[in-house]
């Protein structure tokens, strides 16, 4: 049997190391091609995961198991279920797009830039596939480093402040998680997640562990009020960094909720669900208002991300298949849509070197192709049916109404706010008369940019028109997860 999961982790990492060899300026063209080859290979090895995936079972698939640190019973233990498999594929696809997106945009330290993304891609796949607590923790923390470098080296003027804020926020958040992992090992004498799922735990212990995990994952998602690192990180990060940050890194936080918190701490999860739901709804509404008044396009999209991720945590803690599947669909869709929107801002930034909404206006006059894509992605961000953005929002709202009509009421506010902040930005940036010499001189998309956005547009539309295949993959695993949540461990 071919170890596809190991390949999806190590192919990009090795490719990244290979690219690092070509670090001289004169080797930059070669570095790009090697990086692209690595990213393509990294993506191709994840395709069998989808093709050969058995949607009829919630058991782990493509399992690989080898001893790592026998003294502490730590295993190199990989496997995916219907939830994590989708994110491995999404991540590998996004890495490919990011390498392609940075093609001629990045001119300084090309090899290091490409290598950082490739290595991060492997580490992220590792975090999604790890079924051992220590292995997960190593991948989870290690992927901070490339992201820290990407923001700190290729970022904007306040990159150091943003990078340190990002690093400290997420590192501090995850320290308590390490304590929780060690505690669970002491209780079960195992680091295997499935052993933890079975371990009985009293409610006070569950709540203490809940707090520890919750800090780690809520910072990553990010949930209100630990979200303020994200807008700064996005604003300063280069386009590629923003794409991966929004499309993938945030998803790991949300993934932690369903891989650790819900199944290991079911009683605490049910006990504290009101608390998480409240925070999620604050994220949806409060952050929606904040997004409305942003003057910086990237900041606006960053806030929009937080608001959209509020739907994910809301969906998880409604504990119904429809809600959890909606939340997962929202995660995947947000991967496409936020990536596309950050790429769109990147396209403009590369030409005008400004992210300020006020500097633009009437872009459609000079960049009609770009405008068509931008409007499509804006509509997806506003959750228009027929785009991927609709699927998750709709399912979560339906499930929320069923749980309690007022929850649905609060969640549905996003229909208005999401449309307001997104389309108001579109109105000011895309439409109107040409705003100045800068906009008048804009050149429309080049071929690379066109196909990049077209790929994401195809994904956004395909998922919006026919989301069934995706939901079919996750359904059995979600049902199984909810069975774990429903079973008391007291």
């Amino acid at each position: 049997m071919i170890p596809y999961l190991s390949l999806s982790i190590w192919v990009p990492i090795l490719a990244g190391l290979a690219v690092l060899v070509l670090h001289r300026e004169s080797d930059a063209p070669r570095a790009r091609w090697v990086a692209l080859a690595g990213a393509v290979a990294g993506f191709l090895v994840t395709l069998p995961l989808f093709v050969h995936f058995d949607t009829g079972t919630s058991a782990l698939q493509f399992v690989e198991r080898g001893e790592w640190i026998p003294r502490f019973d730590v295993w190199y233990f990989l496997g995916v279920d219907g939830i994590s498999v989708l994110f491995v594929i999404l991540n590998s696809l996004m890495t490919l797009l990011v390498v392609w997106a940075g093609w001629e945009v990045i001119q300084s330290r090309v090899a290091q830039y490409m290598a950082a993304f490739l290595i991060m891609s492997g580490l992220i796949n590792g975090a999604f596939a790890a079924m051992d607590g220590v292995l997960f923790y190593v991948f989870f923390e290690a992927m901070l480093i490339p992201m820290y470098l990407i923001i700190g080296v290729w970022g904007g003027p306040r990159r150091v402040y943003a990078a340190i804020k990002f690093f400290l926020y997420t590192l501090l958040g995850s320290l308590l998680m390490l304590v929780a992992l060690v505690y669970l090992y002491n209780v079960t004498e195992s680091f295997a997640l499935h052993d933890w799922y079975r371990a009985p735990l009293s409610l006070p212990v569950q709540i203490a562990l809940f707090v520890a995990f919750f800090l780690a994952f809520s910072v990553k998602v990010p949930m209100w009020p630990v979200h303020t690192w994200l807008p700064d990180a996005h604003v300063e990060a280069p386009t590629g960094g923003s794409v991966i940050l929004a499309a993938i890194t945030l998803k790991i936080g949300a993934y932690g909720f369903i891989r650790f918190i819900l199944p290991i701490l079911p009683d605490a999860s049910r006990y504290l669900s009101g608390f998480v739901i409240t925070l999620s709804l604050i994220a949806v509404i409060y952050i929606g208002f904040v997004a409305l008044v942003q003057a910086d396009m990237k900041k606006l999209i960053a806030y929009s991300s937080i608001s959209h991720m509020g739907f994910v945590t809301l969906g998880f803690f409604l504990f119904s298949p429809l809600a959890v599947e909606g939340a997962l669909a929202q995660m995947i869709s947000h991967g496409f849509v936020s990536a596309a929107m950050f790429l769109c801002v990147g396209v403009l930034y590369d030409r005008m070197h400004s992210r300020q909404i006020a500097d633009y206006g009437g872009v459609v006059n000079t960049m009609p192709k770009f405008a068509a894509f931008a409007v499509l992605f804006a509509m997806a961000n506003a959750g228009l049916p027929g785009t991927s953005g609709f699927v998750g929002e709709f399912l979560v709202i339906l499930a929320a109404v069923k749980a309690n009509p007022w929850l649905g009421f609060a969640a549905a506010v996003t229909l208005i706010l999401g449309a307001a902040y997104t389309l108001w930005m579109v109105k000011r940036v895309i439409f109107g008369a040409v705003a100045g010499a800068g906009v008048a001189a804009l050149a429309d998309l080049n071929r690379r940019e066109f196909w990049l956005l077209a790929t994401l547009a195809a994904a956004v539309l395909a998922m919006g028109i026919w989301p069934k295949p995706l939901v079919d993959v996750m359904h059995v695993s979600v049902v199984d997860l909810l069975a774990l949540v429903a079973k008391s461990k007291l």
């Binding site: 229909l415 389309l423 439409f431």
Partner: protein, 667 residues
């Protein structure tokens, strides 16, 4: 060809045309693009006729095309329900759309966005057809939002105009407020009926009639009332009912063909169609029906008043559309669903006609839309004039034109109704008849009759919508009749505006045309009561000309004639006399200003407070950077301990050792 394939052809033909023209329009060229789109819509229209014949033969189709998403027992599908209500809508939509497609060739001839426009209106036709042909709430919502999207794109079609961009954003957001309610309604349907399929939900509805839910405190609310009011909020957004009406007048910033197609004949009637489709639910809640009646009546009357004071030819027609949508809503509220759909149909014909006639005038006037600069156009544009007269007579409800039958049926239905609020509604729709006749003939007289005011030297002023290169008409360059692509659709729309009333009233209202697609409880069935007095079209006509609405309409026309032809100085005097009332109407009841101040301004204020105070000052300023400062301070203090001097360390060690020794010895 089976009916499912047929339905697919109806829906997909315009979509294919739209996608091809949208992607490759500039390469295909103008002629190929418009013929392709016209072909797509024509195929839809012809296939709709075939479907109609099939339904007439008694076949009702209800089936899924594909499963959109499935989660355990829940399954959401894309599928079609082809029943009498659906085919009626399919015919109206595809016919008006076809007329508008042809008309566009003439109207948009000089526009650089020509192929883009065709792609949009074909996309609209597809979306609207999907909406009406749906067999479930999900696809209904798909179509609902898709027509909203195309409306947004088309209102903002001339994207260089700030007013157009403002109007398109406003339209989308006002509709989103409606969708907010609509989604909650759909959520309640799914939560309690366990499905989004019409058939399943409607079959289950009677069992849920007695279900109550706790919405606020201990008060038990009827589930049906809450659900139907939520759904109706959606209809209020789409069909522009007070107070969500504000977007429709501004939507006139879009090109005239779409004002006719989207903002008069089809999309804005989606809310009416939806409520009629949901009749099995609405029938179960007297309260919801009452709300519908009162909102509709308020819209019908208050918007008619605004039609009087408008000077922009398109805005007169727009306010008239709002008012007529109010009539349809009132009909829904009094359970006369068939009458609402009947008025929807006749209105689609004569209102599309009036808009397209207005467009023809606008072309002839070189994009001048101010009625005060028109006048006397009858001699120069005989076809446009004649068709506009037909449209105005139909709108005013003069027999035997189509509007007379549908409007009279609504008024009679309101008269017979017992739903709470019907008394108010009756007064409103009766008063509305006079005002409708007045403003429609005011427009007709100002545009086509009297002195040609465009021949006078232009006085600079407050006119709307003239483009940058103002090359208006004058005495040396009189307006010309529009080309055939414009006048032929006018004539083709004038024909049903004349005959659709007497030809269809009997089957649609009293002949059971809608069959099982509309459900009315016996105690609400005002149309059945009306049907018992039905003795044929002639009798209805004779009864009509002897009853109040007809004389009110005639009075309205006479008043318009007196004010605008016989005594043109009078309106100015009346305006001064009515000072504050005129100001109120001229400011459209201050609804726009209130929304700008309260909702738009308020949201931005809240956003700024949360962003500056909440995020920047409290979370970042106090907690995040505060923590960093505390850590910084603490480490500054602790740093003193690591001085690097051996004697400091030695001293500390000695102190420590003494302390430990004391502790051991002492205890």
């Amino acid at each position: 060809m089976d009916i499912k394939t047929l339905a697919l052809v109806v829906a997909l033909a315009p979509l294919v045309a739209s996608v091809v023209v949208g992607l490759w329009g500039p390469r295909l060229g103008r002629a190929a693009s418009h013929w392709l789109c016209i072909l797509g819509v024509a195929v839809s229209f012809l296939a709709s006729i075939v479907a109609w014949r099939d339904v007439q033969a008694g076949n009702v189709f209800n089936g899924d095309v594909y499963t959109w998403l499935a989660s355990g027992d829940l399954s959401f599908s894309i599928g079609f329900l082809i029943d009498p209500l659906t085919v009626t809508m399919m015919l109206v939509v595809s016919f008006v759309s076809l007329m508008v497609h042809v008309y566009t060739i003439g109207y948009m001839a000089d526009d650089p966005g020509y192929t883009r426009f065709f792609s949009y209106i074909s996309l609209f036709t597809f979306s609207m057809l999907m909406l009406v042909m749906s067999n479930n709430f999900l696809q209904l919502f798909f179509g609902w939002e898709a027509v909203g999207l195309v409306s947004y794109l088309l209102i903002g079609f001339w994207y260089e105009r700030p007013t157009a961009n403002y109007a398109s954003l406003k339209a989308f957001l006002a509709n989103r407020v409606g969708d907010f309610g609509f989604v909650l309604g759909i959520g309640l349907v799914l939560a309690y009926a366990g499905s989004l399929d019409y058939a399943t939900v409607f079959a289950k509805a009677p069992q849920l009639a007695g279900t109550t839910i706790a919405i606020w405190g201990d008060a038990a609310w009827s589930l049906m009332t809450v659900t139907c009011i939520c759904l109706f909020v959606g209809a209020m957004g789409k069909s522009a009912q007070v107070p969500l009406h504000v977007w429709l007048p501004d939507s006139m910033e879009g090109p005239t063909p779409i004002s006719a197609l989207i903002h008069a004949a089809t999309m804005v009637t989606a809310g009416i169609f939806m409520v009629a489709r949901m009749s099995p639910l609405f029938e179960l809640s007297q309260t919801a029906l009452s709300v519908v009646t009162v909102i509709g009546a308020t819209t019908a009357l208050s918007m008619a008043f605004l039609g009087i004071v408008q000077n922009d030819i398109k805005r007169v027609v727009a306010y008239s559309t709002l008012s007529q949508l109010g009539y349809m809503t009132v009909a829904l509220g009094v359970s006369a669903y068939s009458a609402a759909i009947f008025h929807l149909m006749t209105h689609a014909f004569f209102k599309a006609l009036l808009f397209l006639a207005a467009g023809s005038v606008i072309i002839a006037m070189h994009h001048e839309q101010d009625l005060r600069r028109m006048g006397g156009l009858r001699r120069f544009m005989p076809v446009t004039w004649a068709t506009a007269v037909v449209g105005s007579l139909a709108l005013a409800g003069i027999p035997p034109f189509a509007g007379f039958f549908s409007k009279d049926a609504i008024i009679e239905a309101v008269h017979l109704s017992t739903v709470p609020g019907h008394g108010y509604a009756y007064v409103a729709v009766m008063a509305g008849v006079f005002i409708t006749a007045f403003y429609s003939f005011r427009m007709l007289f100002l545009a086509f009759h009297g002195k040609p005011r465009w021949a006078e030297p232009a006085h600079d002023g407050d006119g709307h919508g003239h483009d940058d290169t103002h090359h208006g008409v004058d005495a040396d360059h009189p307006p010309k009749e529009s080309p055939w692509v414009v006048t032929v659709p006018l004539v083709l729309l004038a024909i049903p505006s004349v005959y659709a009333g007497w030809a269809y009233i009997e089957p649609m209202l009293f002949g059971g045309h809608f069959g099982a697609s509309i459900v009315v409880l016996p105690q609400h069935d005002v149309l059945a009561a009306l049907g018992r007095e039905w003795h044929g079209v002639t009798d209805f006509l004779l009864h009509g000309v002897t009853s109040a609405p007809f004389w009110l309409a005639l009075a309205g026309i006479a008043a318009a004639w007196y004010c605008y032809l016989a005594n043109p100085a009078l309106p100015e005097r009346l305006r001064k006399l009515a000072g504050p009332v005129y100001t109120l109407l001229d400011n459209k009841y201050y609804a726009d200003r209130f929304n700008d101040w309260f909702f738009a301004g308020g949201s931005r204020l809240v956003g700024r407070i949360l962003s500056d105070t909440g995020d920047r000052d409290v979370i970042d300023g106090f907690f995040v950077n505060g923590t960093a400062k505390v850590v910084g301070l603490a480490s500054a203090l602790v740093r003193h301990l690591q001085s690097g001097y051996v004697y400091h360390y030695a001293f500390t060690m000695i102190v420590g050792v003494f302390a430990l020794l004391t502790w051991w010895v002492g205890y």
